[in-house]
Amino acid sequence: MQLDVELKKSFKDFTLDVAFSLSSPRTGIFGPSGSGKSTIMNLLSGLELPDSGFIRLGDTVLFDAKRKINLKPNQRNIGVVFQHAHLFPHMSVKKNLFYGYKRIKLENRQIDPEGLFKVLGITQLLSRDVSTLSGGERQRIALARTVLSNPRLILMDEPLSALDEGHKFQIIPYLKNVFNNYGIPMIFISHSVLEMRMMTDEVFVIQKGRIQRHSAAEELVRKSWGSGLESYVNLINLGGATPCKDLFRYKWGHINFILTEPAEGEENLFELDSRDILLFKRHPEATSARNLLQCTVTDIYSSGNRVRVGLACGNEHLIAQIVSESVRELGIEEGAMVVAAIKASAFKKIF
């Protein structure tokens, strides 16, 4: 997918003026509240009319002010998932789900609803009343409804921010599954760094109606450091779990991790707070930490009294965060060897 956009839109005291091209199927738009994220989405989907500019998706011109082209929202084939699910209150869950599906030509119905429902875990909700659904369930239905309308591109406007932490992480794997399985490109709007890292590969950062920069999603976090309170979170993809006594062993590259948490499936994402990695100069003796890794320090960057240490363990990378005092005490410098101790319980399963 190739999307080329150049748009201007003025409101009373806000002006959006952006131009960008994107080809990554997982793109993020990141920015603070009021920066214009939703406005971009409304313009792309045709719900609002730009003052000038153009929108090209692949080789279809969706909008061109000069050539007076302006496809209606229903002609654009762009799906939208809003912050609030906006399930139609007068329809059953099933009717909601098939609303878009029924409106596409038979030959374009490439998605198997049953399969999608299974992927999203909503098969058992079909007969429920819309008003009885929880927030997470509502968002999954909304997503399924959009996917079933067979869009060429899905825009997601903070689909998770109305959910609490529990629901949020419950729905992310579903989202990822859908986009992996059905290969639909998407633009993900959010002001959460964590969501961005999990959902997108590259990110446009927007501020006051203008695009500030364009970078890889991972960059966002490292660079955004310095704001102070947040610590870096390692996102670690592990393979399937093998029981090992009463714990579980996971493959991480050539290394094994011992975790307290079990997991099903062959792909699992865990969160490891950079502060949960304890560094030793020498191998400690008896300790309650289950994972002791021999690592090489690859880089060191610091902010205030805290230091982030890049570690290479085999082919994999980790970031540990320690205090600057420890750097001196442990003699940490690029190329130095250290032992990283990680408790089996420090890994938090995202999905």
Partner: protein
């Protein structure tokens, strides 16, 4: 009058008046509904300036005495009137016909219906419309599958209001459609005629009671529909 309620019987002419009233009120309401919905939608969602003017025009039949409304309708639909001449070419006779009674009722009840529908439509969340559009529904599709069902309660309220008003409509009808027994004589016109017959009061009262029962029935039906809408 009160001590004469004892015997309530309807003459054949009364029964025909009740039938005509029902026919007129139903037709007027049903025919007006699409226009009422269109006007309600325009007033609720329209972005054009001068909505107040449109609203004022729609409210006219409310402000003018019904007899005047009837006279203005007679001017338009009479065989010398603009619309009347055109309809005559099509072989449609409005004056002194049931059609005329329906038109008179429709015009007089219209402002009430539109107000009700407008309030309901103003309460429909725009987001649902946006969502349906992005799901591939065209404007009309979205209108019929989202806007209409979501303002269903208000539409039914407007219809029942108009129906009730129509049951009592006299002034405009008597001018445009005439007071012809069996053809255009609805309940209010029959009541009017009874007042010039000795002992007509009792019969008039009976007809009033019929009107009241009809309106109660409609009220109960519309409450039931409302309750269903609130649930579903």
């Amino acid at each position: 009058m009160v001590n004469e309620i004892t015997m309530l019987t309807l003459s054949p002419q009364d029964i025909s008046a009740v039938g005509l009233s029902l026919k007129v009120a139903c037709s007027a309401t049903l025919i007006s509904t699409p226009f009422g919905i269109a006007c309600g939608y325009f007033l609720a969602f329209g972005k054009i300036r001068g909505k107040a003017v449109v609203e004022g025009l729609i409210s006219l039949p409310l402000v003018l005495p019904p007899v005047v409304v009837g006279y203005l309708l007679l001017l338009s639909f009479g065989s010398n009137g603009l619309i009347g001449k055109f309809l005559n070419l099509l072989g449609i006779q409005v004056v002194f016909s049931l059609t005329g009674a329906v038109i008179a009722s429709a015009v007089v009840g219209f402002p009430l219906m539109v107000r009700s529908i407008r309030i309901g439509m103003e309460a429909v969340d725009q987001s649902y419309i946006s969502v349906s559009r992005t799901l591939g529904a065209g404007w009309w599709d979205s209108f019929f599958t989202i806007v209409l069902p979501l303002s269903g309660r208000a539409i039914f309220a407007g219809m029942s209001l108009m129906f009730a008003r129509n049951l009592g409509e006299f002034g405009a009808t008597v001018i445009l459609a005439g007071n012809i027994p069996g053809v255009t004589q609805t309940i209010p016109l029959a009541i009017y005629e009874y007042t010039s017959v000795p002992g007509g009061d009792r019969m008039a009262l009976t007809l009033c009671l019929v009107s009241i029962s009809l309106s109660f029935a409609i009220l109960l039906i519309s409450e039931a529909i409302n309750r269903k809408f609130r649930r579903g």
